[in-house]
């Protein structure tokens, strides 16, 4: 019972991180039709920025969170201008595949650049808050996990407000729904593109900084999150915001349960095996639209 509760709590916390991380993927896919393979690298860069500002310069961890998020947003804009913008609107290429390839390569370039700057060693980073909270019996929750959940929910709430209330968010939604119509209504598509990428970078950076104390900050710190994010995005159905949140928590819980009862070495293989089965049964995800009938 107590192991189960412990597993559920850790599943929910990881689900929250996956949700903000995958939300970046979902926004970019919805708006730019690009599966942004650099999303994990945004988190990695955010983690490094937070490490520099907290461990090197001695700033408090909360400042690290903000700086990490902003740095990742900058990297998001950079990614847009070097790897996606040159491809938008070209007739001679298959945009989705080319953008997939170029963002994948950008992610690899970022981790190579990070190795050049900081070396290949793992860096430890302080959690936002220390200590553990005793719930009942042997069930304890690290305050860091509570903080992660709180930050994640603030992010998701802020994002939903941004998308439904603000002018900028509405234009993102408009471009995601109907590109041509949005353009005819005077939505500046070019700006919406890079704003979306900045938003994705922001979310990825926050996820990266939140994950950093749980693992380490390392040049390959983005690989695992992007794999999880892709899994979540595919289970959700690409481009579906509601689906992303459900799928993130489902996957977080499955992963935590498998890690608790089978050992953490098995969590990823089991997860991917489940995904393979899931995609055979439901090829367009939980909330995706079946865009092409079964061919």
């Amino acid at each position: 019972m107590e192991t189960l509760v412990q597993a559920l709590i850790s599943g929910l916390v990881f689900g929250a991180i996956y949700a903000i991380m995958t939300m970046g993927l979902t926004l970019v896919y919805g708006c730019l039709r690009t599966l942004n393979m650099a999303q994990g690298a945004f988190g990695m860069v955010g983690g490094y920025a937070a490490w520099v500002i907290t461990t090197d310069m001695g700033a408090p961890p909360i400042v690290g969170l903000f700086v990490g998020a902003l740095a990742a947003a900058g990297i998001g804009i950079l990614t847009h201008f070097i790897s996606i913008k040159p491809l938008v609107g070209r007739k001679d290429i298959d945009f989705e595949m080319t953008a997939y390839i170029s963002t994948l390569v950008v992610a690899i370039m970022f981790s190579a650049a990070i190795i050049l700057l900081f070396g290949a060693r793992n860096k430890a980073i302080d959690p936002l808050v220390e200590g553990r909270l005793h719930v009942f019996g042997t069930v304890t929750v690290a305050w860091q996990q509570v903080a992660v959940a709180v930050v994640a929910f603030i992010c998701l709430g802020g994002l939903s407000l941004l998308l439904s209330r603000s002018r900028q968010g509405l234009s993102i939604m408009a471009v995601a729904q109907q590109f041509d119509a949005a353009k005819l209504m005077g939505v500046p598509a070019g700006r919406v593109y890079w704003v979306t990428m900045a938003l994705a970078g922001l979310l990825g950076g926050i996820a990266g900084v939140l994950l950093a104390p749980l693992y380490f900050v390392s040049p390959s710190a983005g690989d695992l999150p992007i794999l999880k994010g892709l899994t979540v995005a595919v289970v959700a159905g690409l481009g579906s915001i509601r689906g992303t949140i459900y799928a993130a928590f489902i996957i977080g819980l499955i992963e935590a349960l498998v890690a608790t009862y089978l050992g953490s070495l098995w969590s990823l293989p089991v997860l991917f095996a489940l995904i393979v089965v899931f995609m055979i049964v439901r090829p367009y995800g939980l909330f995706g639209k079946p865009e092409e009938e079964r061919l």
Binding site: D92, I93, V106, M109, A113, M279, P283, E292
Partner: protein
């Protein structure tokens, strides 16, 4: 005059796209014989081992290009197929003590089988979802090997002590023998792929890549085509993996993963996605570039990545496309005034409107011309006379499930194709 030049060039291009080019058997054999003298003239073992690596890479990229470039299946799990071939070969020589010559064919078959198993469920998925499924497959393979602590696959440290093919020769002669073997195999695979792509089967693959609906309307069986292409690709991948494992006397799980996949993507795209020569050119170009940047290992990835971004932005057809274009220009210049008799203008127009073909396109839908053909396919599918439903066994029925059955539901189903 320049008008005539362009007309002649367009005519040459049309002739090339509309006819099946002959497989260049004799030039390839001559080239292989010439290249075979390299290790005798240039007696540097390091260079030769590098050449072997390049040839192995070009086998790998060739096998991957067959699915991702030629058929447009978003297959991002090819490294797992190659690794399965390598592990199968290695395990057979280590655990059963088989000779490498016997184990290699088994590795080849294992690669083919694994590829078919991997691609079967992803055939019906749309682009990105298929990439995710194949990628997940590859990750499952990689993580299972890493998680294996029973000592069967060696876990994260990989297999060591795989027997080589030429263990009874001295090390430098073994190296040369590997060079000759991989050279011949690489040339043979290239000829095979070229022959395949210039046959009705290959044309079917290209046509499926450009427009699935049109091809199905023309009676191309998508599932059979894709399974056959994947099988061939998997066999080549298994061969490459088996050769890799025997050449390096081992294979590790770090052979798979995001980084190596990125390297292979760079090779294929820089060389030219969806062409026969492209992957080979890419493998050689990128490996040579890596060697030039050997002292600055991390800059290497940055430079290679930047190269890929440049190629994508400016020459999406890759180096092969560039070569093809300059060759066309040269030929146009040499043929000035030759092809005026047959009304060059019409041909030029026709050439402009006939973009379907294994041309240097990044598996793009063929521009505006694809729209009419999609419409045409709808007409073909709708006008198909109702055939009596044939009762046949499960697997065969599944294979043929794509073929237009002119039932009442079909016209509605066709509407779903309008993608954004």
């Amino acid at each position: 005059m320049s008008d005539m030049t362009s007309a002649a060039a367009a005519k040459a291009k049309l002739a090339r796209t509309l006819t099946w080019s002959k497989t260049p058997v004799v030039p390839t054999i001559v080239l292989v014989i010439v290249l075979a003298f390299i290790p005798l003239v240039w007696r540097n073992d390091y260079i030769i081992s590098l050449l072997v690596l390049m040839l192995l890479f070009s086998l790998m990229t060739q096998s991957w290009n067959l699915t991702i470039g030629m058929c447009g299946i978003w297959n991002f799990g090819q490294l797992a197929i190659i690794a399965i071939g390598g592990y199968a070969t290695g395990l057979l020589t280590i655990k059963l003590g088989m000779s490498a010559w016997l184990a290699l064919p088994v590795g080849v078959l294992a690669g083919g089988l694994a590829a078919v198993i991997m691609v079967l469920p992803s055939i019906r998925l749309r682009g990105i979802y298929a990439s995710m499924l194949t990628f997940a497959f590859a990750e499952v393979v990689r993580l299972l090997i890493i998680a294996d602590s029973s000592g069967f696959t060696g876990g994260p440290f990989g297999l060591t002590g795989v027997k080589g093919l030429f263990d009874n020769l001295s090390s430098s002669w073994s190296l040369r023998a590997y060079f000759w073997l991989t050279l011949v195999l690489c040339a043979a695979v290239m000829l095979l792929v070229h022959r395949m792509m210039n046959s009705p089967f290959g044309m079917g693959l290209v046509s499926l890549r450009e427009s699935v609906r049109f091809s199905i309307g023309m009676g191309i069986n998508r599932r059979v085509q894709f399974i056959m292409a994947t099988l061939i690709s998997g066999l080549i991948a298994g061969l490459a993996g088996g050769l890799y494992a025997t050449f390096y006397h081992g294979i590790t799980p770090s052979f798979m993963g995001l980084g190596p996949m990125g390297l292979m993507v760079i090779m294929v795209v820089v060389g030219g996605l969806g062409t026969v020569r492209g992957p080979i050119i890419g493998a050689f170009a990128v490996t040579i570039l890596s060697e030039l940047l050997r002292d600055t290992v991390m800059w290497r990835l940055v430079v290679q990545g930047a190269l890929l971004l440049l190629v994508l932005a400016f020459w999406p057809a890759g180096i092969d496309g560039l070569l093809q274009r300059s060759f066309d220009k040269l030929r146009g210049w040499m043929n000035v005034g030759q092809g005026e008799v047959e009304g060059g203008q019409d041909v030029a127009v026709a050439a402009g409107a006939a973009p379907v073909g294994p041309g240097p396109s990044l598996s793009a839908p063929a521009g505006p011309a694809a729209q009419p053909s999609e419409a045409a396919s709808a007409v073909v599918a709708a006008a198909e006379p109702p055939k009596p439903a044939k009762k046949s066994g499960g697997f065969k029925a599944w294979l043929n499930a794509d073929q237009p059955k002119a039932d009442a539901a079909k016209p509605d189903a066709l509407k779903g194709d309008k993608k954004t």
